[in-house]
């Protein structure tokens, strides 16, 4: 769907993050956690392509999409200048989204802005009666977004910062392992985003602790709908001459079983 949306709010967070709240009822009704949109929030000829953004919150009742983003380049800078009432263009909802288990506990591991799509997963999982454990890291405390919101939907939120202020900067995978071994919590599914190291760290834990780990990938995209094959990742593909294939992050993902991705 290629549609217009209206900006409801541009919320500046304490750190370098913003939340853009867009009214777009149809996408809000159809979108599932883990899906994304292609957004164009500028009228500048030198910025050619729309940009992909994960959905931080999906509020079908209000017809709203919340986009948590970080100002990184000229497109996100333009985006930060948009004010309520202005229109943006969107393509979405796109991608496969996250499949939640019917029952049981899930864990979310996010690094920095990678926490963004995990929020929608946390909220949906909580609303379905699943128990959510959230692990977030960043360089420093203020670069971990959405802690208050995550706390609402999680049984436990564990933080770690590289400066040592939170949990001595220990790896989130180690902290997850402690939850499983020391507190005896069984985890059925793990979703991770924002760090290759985290995704790789989960691999040996999958069989050891009997959970399935999924990674939400980010890639530069052009069309966002699976046509141009620009945003691929390398995926283990038995039965092919190469043993791998390049899959489209936008269409075949952005959620992939962590064990399938070749980094």
């Amino acid at each position: 769907m290629y549609v217009k949306g209206k900006i409801i709010e541009q919320r500046k967070l304490r750190s370098e993050y913003n939340i853009l709240i867009i009214e777009q009822a149809e996408i809000a009704r159809k979108a599932r956690p883990g899906q994304f949109i292609m957004l164009q929030a500028w009228e500048r000829g030198d910025i050619v392509l729309p940009r992909p953004f994960s959905l931080y919150r999906i509020l079908p009742a209000k017809g709203q999409l919340h986009i948590l983003y970080k100002i990184r380049g000229k497109a996100t800078l333009e985006m930060s200048r948009r004010i309520p009432g202005e229109e943006v263009k969107l393509i979405g909802p796109l991608g496969n989204g996250a499949d939640l288990p019917e029952t049981g506990n899930i864990a979310l591991l996010g690094r920095g802005i990678g926490a963004a799509p995990l929020m929608a997963i946390a909220e949906t999982a909580y609303n379905r009666g699943l128990v959510v454990y959230t692990f977030l890291s960043a360089r420093k405390r203020e670069l971990i977004p959405g802690v208050v919101d995550f706390t609402r939907y999680s049984s436990k939120v564990v933080l770690s910062t590289d400066d040592g202020e939170e949990n001595e900067g220990r790896l989130l995978t180690v902290l997850l392992e402690e939850l499983i071994t020391k507190e005896g919590i069984k985890i059925k599914t793990v979703f991770t985003c924002g760090s290759k190291r985290l995704a790789q760290g989960l691999l040996p834990m999958e069989t050891k602790y009997n959970f399935r780990a999924y990674v939400l990938l980010e890639e530069v995209m052009a069309c966002g709908i699976g046509s141009c094959k620009g945003c691929v990742c390398k995926v283990r593909t038995p039965g092919t001459p190469e043993g791998h294939a390049y899959k489209r992050v936008c269409k075949d993902g952005p959620v992939f079983p962590a064990s399938e991705v070749i980094w």
Partner: protein, 311 residues
């Protein structure tokens, strides 16, 4: 004196290499996949023609990522002709594409002249293909592609080989990455090409100064988008003077105004690539915009624009 033109009487139809196009606008190969992704977004029957992504004899997995990088006013890509190969195309994609009424143009690339010939032969026999577009201009593969598009004699040999194996119109897609594009165009015309597509992407690179590595895994990529429009327009104008066969102009067409420029420069039809990535319905807006332009200019027939630039 401008005359008043009734919109319903405006003619957008053009003839190109024996094909009748209801309007002169088509997607550029490689940006439109096999149409499946765009079909939910607009009615493909509104296109002048359907042009699908390059097919090779064997499946190609494509180049490693990163494959894309945006540069000011442009997009650098190095996909590497990822495609499922001829057999899968004929078995799985062609039946779907046959449902649509606009002429289907299938883009082909070979590693050798024999491969081009075999692709031409088998696609001609497959049914439902209206024309072949011969890709001798892909900047992103090591074998074939651009190698055939930079030397006039090689370009001519590929064209002749394809012509000998098909009854379909043969459109040859040219690269701008040559000293004199008119020399290639003339060689290809003499070898029997029925039309030319130009331009393919312009070779370029970008470097990530944080990692100090090329932005694309393939180092070099093809630049498309508004950045290359003047380059493309000049190539079309030059080639239009050099050959008699019709041209499909492309390279950075984002709006109907851009499309008009290409027609004026001598293109009979135009292809839209990068614009469709920005706005999936851009191509439909361009068709409507051409109609508006004709009405605005008091013209009844789009053919009056072709090559009408006044020097």
């Amino acid at each position: 004196m401008k005359q008043t033109v009734n919109r319903s009487r405006v003619n957008l139809e053009v003839q190109l290499a024996g094909l009748t196009l209801q309007n002169p606008v088509m997607p550029a190969s490689g940006t439109f996949g096999f149409g499946e992704e765009y079909a939910p977004l607009f009615d493909l029957n509104r296109l002048g023609a359907i042009v699908v992504k390059t097919i090779t004899l064997q499946p190609l997995i494509g180049n490693p990522p990163p494959r894309l990088m945006e540069t000011p006013c442009g997009v650098l890509n190095s996909i590497g002709l990822q495609n499922p190969g001829l057999e899968v195309f004929i078995r799985e994609k062609l039946p779907y594409l046959r449902r649509f009424s606009p002429p289907l143009i299938v883009n082909i690339a070979g590693r050798t002249i024999d491969e081009y010939a075999e692709l031409a032969e088998r696609l001609s026999a497959a049914g439902g293909v209206a024309a072949l577009e011969v890709n001798i201009s892909c900047p992103n593969v090591k074998e074939g592609g651009i190698v055939f598009g930079t030397v006039p004699d090689m370009a001519a040999r590929v064209t002749a080989a394809v012509k000998s194996q098909t009854h379909l119109p043969v459109i040859v897609k040219l690269t701008p990455n040559v000293t004199d594009i008119t020399a290639i165009a003339r060689a290809v015309e003499e070898a029997g090409a029925d039309a030319l597509s130009l331009i393919n992407t312009v070779r370029g690179m970008a470097i990530d100064i944080k990692t100090r590595r090329p932005a694309l895994a393939n180092i070099v990529g093809g630049l498309s988008g508004p950045a290359i429009k003047p380059v493309a327009l000049y190539a079309v104008w030059q080639v239009a003077q050099a050959v008699k066969i019709p041209l499909i102009g492309m390279g950075g067409i984002m709006t109907s105004r851009d499309a008009v420029e290409f027609l004026l420069a001598g293109a009979t039809a135009v292809a839209v690539g990068t614009a469709g990535l920005v706005n999936p319905t851009a191509i439909i807006e361009i068709i409507a915009g051409l109609e508006d332009y004709l009405v605005e200019q008091g013209l009844n027939d789009i053919r009056e624009l072709i090559g009408a630039v006044q020097i």
